[in-house]
C-alpha cells in the first residue's frame, strides 16, 4: 500500500467532469452500437456470423480433416431444422377442439425425428430470448449487464423453491407465483448492481460479475448436501426437490415425457413484443434510450439518469429471472448443483444480444442460431459417427467467442463501410 500517488498528473478532478467527447472516442458503447446499426443494419451481424462459421470450419478441417460442411449439416439436422424441408400432407389438431386442419409439416414426433430435435432447439430458444433481451435492454441504457447468468440462476432458484412448496395453491396460480417469484428475484439481483451504479457510480460490469459468482455459490450452498433446499428424500444427491406437478407448464407440441415444447414459447414471443413496445412506444423506453445515447444530454433534458440506470437494470434482471423461472417450470423441474455451476445460458445471452444488435427481431433470430448450435452439438442430437459431440460443443463456444469478438469490433466494420462510401463519393465526383 506504499508508493507514491498513482496519478502523475495530480488528482483527476482537476480535469473537470468526465467529458472528453473527442471524435466519439469515449462515446458509450451503446451509442456506438446505435451508430453501427444505422450504418450496417443486418449486414454486419450476417458477415460476422459467416466469418465465425468460416473460421470454425477451418478449425474442423485442420484438426480432424473432416469436411466442415458435413459437420455443419449434421449440426443443422441435430437442431431439427430439416423439419421444415420434410413437406408433406399432414393433420394438425386445432387447440381446444377435436377438429383437425391440413398442415404441410409432420408434427408427430413418433414419426419425425426432426420434429423432436426442433422442439429441443425451441426449448433452448426460450431462455436465450429472455437472457438476450435482458442484456439488450441494459445495453439500450448504456449499461453492460454481464450478470445475466446470476439473475437467471436466482430466478430459477426462486422458481424451484416456490414451485416445490406451497402445495395448497391451485395449478395456474402456482405457476404464475413461481414465475413471478423468479422474475422478481432476477430484478432484485440486477437491481443491486443498478442501485450501486445509480448511487455511487460503481461500474455495473464489475458488480454484475461479482453477483454472478455470489449467485452460483449461493445456489451450490442451497442445493448441496445438507443445504437448506436440498432434496428431502434423496439425502445424498445434491439436487433440489422436484416442483409439484400442477406447477409445471403445459406441453403443446410433442410428448411431455420426451421434453416436448412447453407454452413458455409463447411467453418468449410475448416478451419480444413487450420489449419492442416498451422501448419504442413508451416514455420509459424513450428515457432509457436517451440515457443510453448520451447521459449528459439526457440529464440536461430533465431525465433522471440515476433512476433510469436503476430501472433499466431491474427490468433487465426481470427478463433474465423470467428465463430461469420458465426453464424450471417448463422443462427442468429441478436443479442440481452441477446445473448451477455449469449452466451458461446467461452468458450466451450476451452473444445473442450483441449479434441481434439489441433489437427484438435480431434477438429472436440470433437466439435461434445459438439455440440451434447448443442443441445441434449436444450428445443427444449430434450423430457421433459424423462428428464427436464433445468436440462440437466446444466448437459452439469457439463460434460464440468469434461472433462476440467481431461484433464488438464495430469500428472495424464501420470504418470499412465509411471507406467504401468515401470511395464511392470520389468516384461520383471525378467524372463530373
Amino acid at each position: 500500500m506504499s508508493g507514491p500517488d498513482p496519478s502523475p498528473f495530480g488528482p483527476p478532478p482537476d480535469l473537470g467532469p468526465p467529458k472528453p467527447p473527442e471524435s466519439g472516442d469515449s462515446a458509450s458503447f451503446a451509442s456506438r452500437l446505435a451508430l453501427a446499426q444505422r450504418a450496417g443494419g443486418a449486414v454486419v451481424p450476417l458477415l460476422t456470423t459467416i466469418l465465425a462459421f468460416l473460421i470454425g470450419g477451418l478449425v474442423v478441417l485442420a484438426t480432424t480433416g473432416k469436411n466442415p460442411l458435413t459437420t455443419y449439416k449434421a449440426i443443422f439436422e441435430g437442431a431439427g431444422f430439416n423439419w421444415f424441408f420434410e413437406v408433406g400432407s399432414y393433420q394438425l389438431r386445432v387447440p381446444f377442439t377435436d377438429s383437425h386442419i391440413w398442415f404441410p409439416w409432420n408434427t408427430n414426433d413418433f414419426e419425425s425425428l426432426a420434429a423432436l430435435n426442433l422442439q429441443q432447439t425451441l426449448i433452448f430458444w426460450v431462455p436465450l430470448v429472455f437472457t438476450g433481451l435482458a442484456v439488450a435492454f441494459a445495453f439500450r441504457c448504456g449499461l453492460f449487464n454481464i450478470g445475466g447468468q446470476g439473475q437467471y440462476l436466482v430466478g430459477s432458484i426462486m422458481a424451484v423453491w416456490v414451485g416445490s412448496s406451497l402445495p395448497q395453491l391451485p395449478g395456474l396460480i402456482h405457476i404464475v407465483a413461481a414465475i413471478v417469484a423468479g422474475a422478481l428475484a432476477g430484478a432484485a439481483w440486477a437491481g443491486i448492481a443498478g442501485l450501486l451504479k445509480a448511487l455511487v457510480g460503481a461500474h455495473e460490469v464489475i458488480s454484475t460479475i461479482m453477483l454472478n459468482w455470489v449467485a452460483i455459490w449461493v445456489g451450490v450452498f442451497l442445493f448441496g448436501l445438507g443445504g437448506p433446499l436440498q432434496n428431502d428424500t434423496q439425502e445424498f444427491v445434491p439436487v433440489s426437490n422436484d416442483i409439484l406437478d400442477e406447477s409445471k407448464l403445459k406441453v403443446f407440441w410433442g410428448d411431455p415425457l420426451l421434453q416436448g415444447l412447453h407454452v413458455g414459447f409463447f411467453v418468449a414471443i410475448a416478451a419480444l413484443v413487450v420489449y419492442w413496445i416498451t422501448l419504442n412506444r413508451t416514455t420509459l423506453g424513450y428515457e432509457v434510450r436517451a440515457v443510453g445515447y448520451n447521459p449528459e444530454a439526457a440529464r440536461y433534458g430533465g431525465i433522471s439518469v440515476a433512476k433510469n440506470y436503476f430501472l433499466a437494470m431491474a427490468i433487465s434482471g426481470t427478463f433474465a429471472g423470467l428465463a430461469g423461472a420458465i426453464d424450471i417450470v417448463g422443462w427442468q423441474f429441478r436443479i442440481n448443483t452441477n446445473d448451477v455451476l455449469l449452466s451458461s445460458i446467461g452468458f450466451t445471452g450476451i452473444a445473442v444480444a450483441l449479434l441481434g444488435r439489441n433489437t427484438a427481431f435480431g434477438v429472436a433470430l440470433s437466439g435461434l442460431l445459438f439455440a440451434a448450435l447448443i442443441t445441434g452439438t449436444s450428445t443427444r442430437n449430434l450423430d457421433p459417427e459424423i462428428f464427436k459431440p464433445e468436440l462440437a460443443s466446444n466448437l459452439t463456444l469457439l463460434i460464440q467467442g468469434l461472433v462476440v469478438l467481431f461484433v464488438g469490433a464495430d469500428v472495424l466494420i464501420l470504418s470499412l463501410l465509411g471507406l467504401r462510401k468515401r470511395r464511392r463519393r470520389r468516384a461520383v465526383e471525378t467524372p463530373a
Binding site: 506504499s2 498513482p6 464489475i206 460479475i209 450452498f221 468436440l391 464488438g408
Partner: protein, 397 residues
C-alpha cells in the same frame, strides 16, 4: 530506514482505530487453537474493548477505519462465541494454522499472478475481463507443453506464449480497432474456453491428461525443517509460489520505481498528455496487455502443472474473475492486490477445510471474495478509484 518506517505508522485517532481492529481480530483468535479458550466471556470482553476503541476513534473524526474496527469487533465476538461452542476436535481439525497458511499460499498463487497481470493491463488503460480465458489457456497449454516436450519449464514457456497470443488478440481489438474492451475480453473468455476444450478432447480424447506429466518441482528448504510454525509452511512450497512473491515485488518496483512504470501509469491516467510528451500510447498498451496475458497464463499453468497435475475443461472456474476482483479490491496497487489475493486465497483454503463442520456452510466461503469486492466497489470500506482512462480507447491525432 527505521525512522522512515516509523514515520509512516498511523498516529492519533487512526492508531486507535487500527488497535481496535487488531483487538477485534484477537477476540476471535483466542477462541481458536492453540489457545482455544473454552469460555465465551473472554472473546466477548476483548471484542467489546475493540468496539470501544472503534467508537473512541469515531468520536475523534476517523470514520472509515473506526467503523471497520466496530464491525470487526462485532464479528470477532460472534465468531469467537461460535468457536467456543464447537467441539475441540473439530477446531483442531480445521484450524491448523501452518497447514491453513500453506493452503492459503497455494490458492493465492494463481490469483496473484493473474492479479499482477491485470494490474499492468488496467494501469495502462485497458480493461482485461479476458484474464479468465488467458489463465485457462495457460493451464491447458502449460500441461500440453510439459507433456509433449517432457519438461515443465517448456510447459511454462508454452503457457506464456499461449497467454501472450490471446492477449495479443485482445490488445489488437481493444487498441487498434478500438472495440469495446469488455466485449473483447468477454470474447477472449469464450474463445479460450472453446479452443482449450476442443484441443483437450481432440488430443486427449476424453481420457484426461496422463498422470506422469513433468510437473513444476517444490523447493525444499531443509534447514527450515525444525523451525516452529515457519518450517511446515515454507519448508516445502512449489517453485511457482516463490515466483509469485517475486512477481509481486517486481510489479511494485516496475510500476512505481522505474520510468517504464511511470509511462504505463501516465498512459492509463491521461493518454493524450502522455502522447504529447512523446510516449507511444499504443506501444505501452500493447506491451502491458501482452504482459498481463503472460502473467495470467503462468498463474493458470501453476494450476495445471504445479497444483493438481491434470487438466479439466474450464478448470480455472472463475479464478480469473477473482483475480480481477483482487485488482479492484486492492485499489489498483500491487501490494493491495497481493493482499487481496492472499485474503481470497485464505477464504478458499478455509472453504476447503470447513466441511468438517458443515459441507454446505463451507461453500459460502467460496462466495466471500465476490461479496467483499461488491462491498469495496460500493464504497463502504474505502473507495476504489480506477485509473482515469481505463476502458477508453485512444485515438491518435
Amino acid at each position: 530506514m527505521i525512522e522512515r518506517l516509523l514515520a509512516k505508522l498511523p498516529r492519533g485517532a487512526r492508531a486507535i482505530a487500527w488497535v481496535g481492529i487488531l483487538v477485534g481480530v484477537l477476540a476471535f483468535w483466542v477462541a481458536l487453537p492453540p489457545l482455544a479458550i473454552r469460555h465465551p466471556i473472554l472473546p466477548i470482553l476483548i471484542g467489546v474493548v475493540g468496539i470501544g476503541l472503534g467508537i473512541g476513534a469515531l468520536s475523534r473524526g476517523v470514520r472509515r477505519l473506526a467503523w471497520g474496527a466496530v464491525v470487526i469487533g462485532v464479528l470477532g465476538i460472534a465468531l469467537g462465541y461460535l468457536a467456543t461452542r464447537s467441539s475441540v476436535g473439530h477446531l483442531d481439525q480445521v484450524v491448523v494454522w501452518s497447514a491453513l497458511t500453506a493452503a492459503m499460499l497455494r490458492y493465492a498463487t494463481p490469483l496473484a499472478f493473474a492479479a499482477m497481470g491485470g494490474l499492468f493491463s488496467e494501469r495502462s488503460g485497458v480493461v482485461n475481463i479476458g484474464l479468465e480465458g488467458m489463465m485457462l489457456s495457460g493451464a491447458f497449454f502449460g500441461i500440453l507443453g510439459a507433456d509433449k516436450l517432457n519438461h515443465w519449464a517448456l510447459g511454462l514457456l508454452c503457457a506464456a506464449l499461449a497467454g501472450a497470443g490471446f492477449a495479443l488478440i485482445h490488445a489488437f481489438f481493444a487498441i487498434h480497432l478500438r472495440a469495446d474492451q469488455i466485449v473483447g475480453g468477454f470474447a477472449i473468455n469464450f474463445l479460450a474456453m472453446g479452443i482449450t476444450g476442443y484441443l483437450f478432447i481432440d488430443i486427449y480424447s476424453g481420457e484426461g491428461t496422463p498422470p506422469d506429466v513433468s510437473d513444476i518441482p517444490d523447493v525444499h528448504l531443509g534447514f527450515l525443517k525444525d523451525w516452529y510454525f515457519v518450517g511446515p509452511i515454507f519448508g516445502q512450497l512449489n517453485l511457482m509460489i516463490w515466483l509469485a512473491a517475486l512477481t509481486i515485488v517486481a510489479t511494485w518496483v516496475v510500476m512505481f520505481k522505474t520510468p517504464i512504470g511511470l509511462r504505463i501509469r501516465a498512459v492509463g491516467e491521461h493518454p493524450r498528455a502522455a502522447d504529447t510528451v512523446g510516449i507511444s500510447v499504443y506501444k505501452i498498451r500493447y506491451a502491458a496487455v501482452v504482459l498481463s496475458g503472460v502473467l495470467a497464463a503462468l498463474g493458470g499453468a501453476y494450476l495445471s502443472i504445479g497444483f493438481v497435475n491434470s487438466f479439466n475443461q474450464n478448470m480455472t472456474a472463475g479464478r480469473g474473475y477473482i483475480a480481477l476482483a483482487a485488482v479492484i479490491f486492492g485499489n489498483w496497487r500491487p501490494w493491495g492486490a497481493a493482499a487481496a489475493a492472499l485474503l481470497f486465497g485464505f477464504s478458499s483454503a478455509l472453504a476447503q477445510r470447513l466441511p468438517a463442520y458443515s459441507e454446505s456452510a463451507a461453500v459460502l466461503f467460496q462466495a466471500l471474495p465476490y461479496v467483499l469486492t461488491l462491498i469495496a466497489v460500493a464504497g463502504v470500506i474505502g473507495r476504489s478509484i480506477p485509473p482515469a482512462a481505463v476502458g477508453r480507447p485512444y485515438k491518435k491525432q
